[in-house]
């Protein structure tokens, strides 16, 4: 498989995560990229590739203009909403491993709380599609106008199939808020919750999602620097090798309004494909890793991805979680930064920076003896680890 083991993440950067950054998304992007390059010991003059999401609000020319990047060989955008996050790592790996680029920077910056509201209902006139995320035309006139409402239609199917309740989903919130409480970079630093708090929070979409099942709306920027493994060894930080990164875009699949690809929505089939491909490339199963950074837009996604990525069997996520497997000392510690629910929601990218810190051994809530970290955002998965 082209790229596997031939590229490394050598720099990570992020701004603070807030509800009102007080500056433009472009500035957040530029600050995060500069921080990531400083972390790697590289300069903007070294950068010859830029990757972001189709949904990102900043411009490649604008960002290059801030940083003084002299010449880009590649600038590309990845579809699929926040599921693009781990997919960007796949594309950056491919670009450097194939020799197209030497140093690729990935960025994502958003003022999704202060400038617009990511979780609010969308009104008519919005774009009809979300880059493979949701074909809104089919949802908006019926009142399914927010990510939570799209997610809930799938989550309800899962709940019904396996007898899972909203209180079960709350276990994930409580866990991630526990981690955030001891992570100074988290918005919810020092603010753990109980299951009672979760159950007392208001309904967002009944009967699946309460307020505390939802990720945050956050302002912030995150960036990664990726280069070839030989060049990575000369960088400032201990390189974190991309042992493998894969994606899957299946026929008729939409990211969050995923209603048409399969008749049974209680299992995330796309995750099966990602797991199979990743194991083929790396020789490792996701459950063989020591940390699981899994995209938590809403708590049911953790249940469904745990099952699809093979941490446990169909319908077993509830017991897997109750048995303590996602604790820091458990079999598969989940997002020790607090995830999107506890730390902040920069569309998956702050889960990747935490994965890198875990592999380096520098995280706020460090898991012991980390060899491999699993990164997952539904349609994309990667396994990274120290060189």
């Amino acid at each position: 498989m082209m790229g596997a083991g031939k590229a490394a993440i050598v720099g990570i950067g992020q701004t603070e995560f807030s509800k009102n950054s007080g500056r433009s998304e472009l500035q957040l992007a530029a600050e995060a990229v500069k921080a990531a390059l400083d972390d790697a010991g590289l300069s903007p003059a070294d950068v010859d590739g830029l990757i972001t999401f189709t949904l990102d609000g900043s411009d490649e020319v604008g960002l290059g203009r801030c940083l003084g990047i002299p010449d880009l060989k590649l600038a590309t955008r990845i579809p699929n909403g926040g599921a693009a996050s781990v997919a960007t790592v796949f594309h950056a790996m491919s670009a450097v491993a194939s020799g197209v680029c030497d140093v690729v920077v990935i960025w994502r910056a958003m003022n999704e709380r202060s400038q617009y509201r990511f979780g609010q209902p969308i009104i008519r006139g919005a774009i009809p599609t979300g880059g493979g995320s949701t074909f809104m035309e089919w949802c908006l006139p019926f009142g399914a106008q927010s990510p939570a409402s799209w997610e809930a239609l799938t989550a309800q199917s899962y709940m019904s199939r396996y007898g899972v309740t909203n209180a079960d989903f709350g276990l994930v919130s409580v866990l991630l808020r526990k981690y955030a409480a001891t992570n100074p970079a988290a918005w919810f630093y020092g603010k753990p919750i109980t299951l009672e708090d979760h159950q007392a929070s208001r309904w967002i979409v009944a009967p699946a999602l309460r307020l505390l099942d939802c990720c945050q709306e956050s302002d912030g920027g995150v960036a990664l620097v990726i280069t070839r493994i030989d060049r990575a060894r000369d960088c400032k930080q201990k390189p974190v090798v991309i042992r493998g990164a894969v994606t899957s875009m299946r026929f008729n699949h939409e990211i969050i309004s995923d209603y048409y690809a399969t008749s049974d929505l209680s299992h995330l089939e796309i995750g099966d494909r990602v797991r199979e491909r990743l194991t083929q490339v790396t020789g490792l199963a996701p459950r063989d890793t020591q940390v699981a950074m899994i995209y938590d837009n809403f708590t049911p996604q953790i249940y469904m991805q745990l099952e699809a990525f093979g941490f446990c069997g169909p319908g077993q996520a509830k017991d897997y979680i109750k048995d303590g497997n996602l604790e820091l000392t458990g079999r598969s510690p989940l997002s020790p930064n607090g995830g999107h629910i506890g730390e902040g929601y920069i569309h998956g990218m702050n889960l990747i920076t935490e994965g890198v810190r875990q592999a380096r051994g520098t995280a706020a809530n460090q898991v012991a003896n980390v060899e491999n970290v699993f990164l997952a955002s539904g349609v994309a998965g990667a396994i990274i680890g120290a060189a």
């Binding site: 009104i123 008519r124 089919w138 106008q145 927010s146 939570a148 309800q156």
Partner: protein, 144 residues
Amino acid sequence: MADNETTIQRQEPVATPDSEFFWEGASRGELLIEQCDACKTLWHPPRPMCPKCHATRMVPARMSGRGVVYSWAMPIHPFPHGFATPPIVALIDLAEGPRVVSNVVGIDPRKMREGLAVTVEFEPTAGGKAVPVFRPVAGQEKTP
């Protein structure tokens, strides 16, 4: 409990050239699903080429309007635009096969369940068009 009836503030669909037939059909009181004229396969959401035989002549086919609820959800906060009370959003598996996003009307949310048999009707939108919604077949809503 009162029906989850919507007002005529319901959002107008944003049609594309490939989907216009669906919304125009609904405004005439017809539930239309795209059918490949060559191989007769039904597709939803509509698309300009049949992924099975690659024909590009796609024609609207009228559905019976019968279906069953696959899953459902009730957006409560933030309140969706165009509704006076929280709507019941549902995935409906049509008798002919395709799955559509729609609403279930005329039922107490506490009685919502998967497998509920429903039949189509049409509700107006703010701009004078209409969208297909579904109502439980009489007697069905009492089933536990």
